[in-house]
């Protein structure tokens, strides 16, 4: 449990939490139809910063994404006296793409090129934060994952303060991808409505500053608990029953907490599949009788930011004793029996649950409350290493023994797949980084999972370059308006956590699956994150380690499987 001491929202609706909340309360939206937006043919409906505002916020020498993050974090920190320059302060970012489109402007190997991990480092340096920043990239649930990680690191006693920022920006890269996915609504989205036609993409940075509880509360909000998992169903579609989200809710919702909830703040993307699935999860978790609200018709889907901006809006509304309606909602269009908030409703409760789901099969729930709950005490872990694997372009080591292989480079990974897995999976559709992670975890799990229940297996992958090869390939599919054919199969691989979904489907992993990007490999951070996470969620088996690939002939997978006693 951690205390929220400051917040910020930087969106087209405003540059502070107060401005954004006031705009949402007035029922405003930043969504608008734009012709030829960022080079995308035709008309798209998006939540985009006007040019003038963009120019004002953009910092020289920093990308648009970095500029937004810096603005949001600085504004949040101006409201609190926390010592953010202390080695006891951690900076955690949540993003799905980190403004990767700037890749197109920067030559390969250029010193100025920045992966999301290096972008985070650059931002941290500018802000004066001295610890190595951690970037969570769990697609649409990145913001929630980042807050839960912060909560775990503080609860474990490793840090006193966490600055957590979720951000994603609109780019030709993201628009082309979602266009290819046919998931974008041509008009303002209508969450949970019978006539909903998909999502709108928005851009935003949102920040929460967290500290350990110091018994000096002035109406502060707390993160009480959270849970993450994978539904092991499909990389780009949630399980229709809503089982993944359902399990994240029921895992943390005690009868007392349930009684305290004012509302559910849903993901509510307004895609057919998401809203339907969420309605089933909410109903089955016994939350169909309290109000469900959602804000994507105000901001659009802001991906990495959504898991932070949306709970901040609910905190503001509950501070005023009200629940805000779902803009654009008119007639229920989901089969789960839930109560969509359709007008401003009053409440005397001051707690809520935020639910979210994303590509790669990941789901997450976080409970926020003004009444602080019991303080978790860190558990000492007793574990045993079951298997270890290391794959480099010319060598494979399994439990410290060299495997005899004929090929090297990318062919080596295909050889391993053919020799040991050959499972009719989507292997050949994956980029090299995904293939590497898929094969390495496949070898680790082979005959090792035994009778361990899928819900009790967790997966943590750390990387520096993530999906960089797929990113470059995706860019090449829409370089000119005449040759504008973005490929959904390539686009899906540009989300570095999607391979965790492939691995989860293949190996029946239904516990937490998290992808973390670091500026460079640092095993002490990897161990710290895994231990803090595992001592909170208590799985029986953990697969974790480093997977990186920055060129066809340059890759490294170094993973372990642990049994937690």
């Amino acid at each position: 449990m951690t205390k929220i001491v400051a917040t910020n929202i930087t969106s087209p609706l405003g540059l502070t939490t107060e401005e954004n909340y006031a705009a949402v309360k007035r029922g405003e939206t930043c969504l608008k139809s734009v012709e030829g937006c960022l080079g995308v043919p035709g008309c798209v409906c998006v939540g985009i910063f006007p040019d003038e505002q963009r120019r004002a916020l953009k910092l020289d020498g920093y990308s648009w994404y970095e500029s937004l993050v810096i603005h949001s974090v600085k504004e949040a920190l101006s409201h609190t006296a926390v010592d953010y320059a202390s080695p006891r302060t951690i900076f955690i970012l949540g993003t799905s793409t980190a403004g990767i489109d700037e890749l197109g402007d920067v030559p390969e190997k250029d010193g100025d090129f920045r992966s999301p991990g290096l972008a985070a480092k650059k931002v941290a340096d500018r802000l004066g934060i001295v610890t190595v920043p951690i970037t969570v990239s769990n697609a649409c649930i990145s913001g929630g994952t980042a807050q839960l990680l912060a909560d775990r690191l503080i609860s474990s006693g490793l840090y006193d303060v966490a600055v957590v920022c979720g951000a994603d920006v609109l780019s030709a890269f993201v628009l082309a991808g979602f266009n290819a996915f046919k998931a974008m609504s041509p008009t303002e989205c209508k969450p949970f409505d019978i006539e909903r036609m998909g999502l709108n993409i928005g851009e935003c940075a949102a920040t929460v500053v967290l500290t350990k509880n110091d018994d000096n509360n002035k109406g502060d909000w707390f993160i009480i608990d959270g849970c993450l998992n994978n539904d092991a169903y499909h990389v780009s579609a949630p399980i229709p029953s809503g089982d993944g989200v359902y399990r994240t809710i029921t895992n943390i919702l005690t009868p007392e907490l349930k009684e305290s909830l004012a509302c559910v703040t849903a993901h509510g993307t307004a895609t057919m599949f998401n809203d339907q699935m969420e309605s089933k999860a909410i109903e089955n978790a016994g939350l169909g009788d309290i109000y469900t609200t959602a804000y994507k018709s105000h901001f659009g889907h802001t991906f990495g930011a959504s898991g932070i901006v949306e709970p901040i809006i609910t905190m503001c509304s509950l501070d005023e004793g009200i629940i805000l309606p779902v803009r654009g909602f008119d007639e229920i269009g989901v089969s789960g029996r839930i109560k969509i908030c359709n007008s401003i409703e009053s409440t005397d409760k001051s707690a809520f649950i935020k639910i979210q789901s994303g590509f790669g099969g990941c789901n997450g729930s976080v409970i926020y409350s003004k009444n602080h709950g019991p303080i978790k005490t860190p558990v000492l872990l007793d574990y045993k290493t079951l298997n270890e694997i290391r794959i480099t372009p010319d060598k494979v080591m399994f439990n410290h023994k060299s495997l005899s292989v004929k090929s090297s480079g990318p062919d080596l990974i295909t050889e391993l797949y053919k020799s040991f897995l050959s499972d009719g999976s989507r292997f050949y559709k994956m980029d090299l980084y995904s293939r590497l992670a898929y094969v390495a975890t496949g070898l680790l799990c082979k005959d090792a999972i035994g009778d361990c229940s899928p819900e009790d297996i967790s997966l943590f992958v750390f990387t520096q370059n993530g999906s960089i090869l797929a990113d470059r390939k995706h860019l090449s599919t829409f370089c000119t308006p005449e040759e504008y054919y973005p490929s959904p199969a390539i686009m899906i691989n540009t989300l570095p956590n999607v391979v965790l979904g492939e691995i989860a489907v293949k190996n029946r992993i239904k516990g937490e699956t998290t992808l973390i990007i670091l500026p460079y490999r640092d095993d002490s951070i990897i161990d710290m994150v895994v231990k803090a996470s595992v001592s909170d969620s208590r799985p029986s088996l953990v697969i974790y380690g480093w997977v990186d690939c920055d060129a066809e002939d340059s890759f490294d997978a170094d993973l372990k499987m642990l049994r937690i006693k």
């Binding site: 290819a180 046919k182 499909h234 579609a237 559709k429 959904p488």
Partner: protein
């Protein structure tokens, strides 16, 4: 028609990375999804891109492609009637 069918098969193999598969291994009438080739929803979206890129046919959604993508014969038939390039 035979030539168009073979071209489409090769385009499907290339775009969907159907490793180690040749056009003559794909049955003209076999279903592409579920049983048969076992394609999934992302592949369906990729087929929409093929129609646009190679034949100038614009389908709006996978739902619209449901009938078209039943089999290679169905795709060839649809392409012949609707192609703009």
């Amino acid at each position: 028609m035979e030539e168009l069918i073979n071209t489409i098969k090769q385009q499907i193999i290339d775009a969907l990375n159907l490793e180690e598969m040749t056009p003559d291994q794909i049955d003209n009438d076999a279903p592409l999804f579920g049983e048969g080739l076992g394609l999934d929803s992302i592949d369906a979206l990729e087929l929409i891109v093929i129609l646009d890129k190679c034949y100038g046919i614009k389908l709006k959604s996978p739902a619209e492609g449901k009938e078209v993508f039943k089999s290679v014969n169905c795709i060839a038939d649809y392409v012949q009637k609707n192609r703009t390039k």
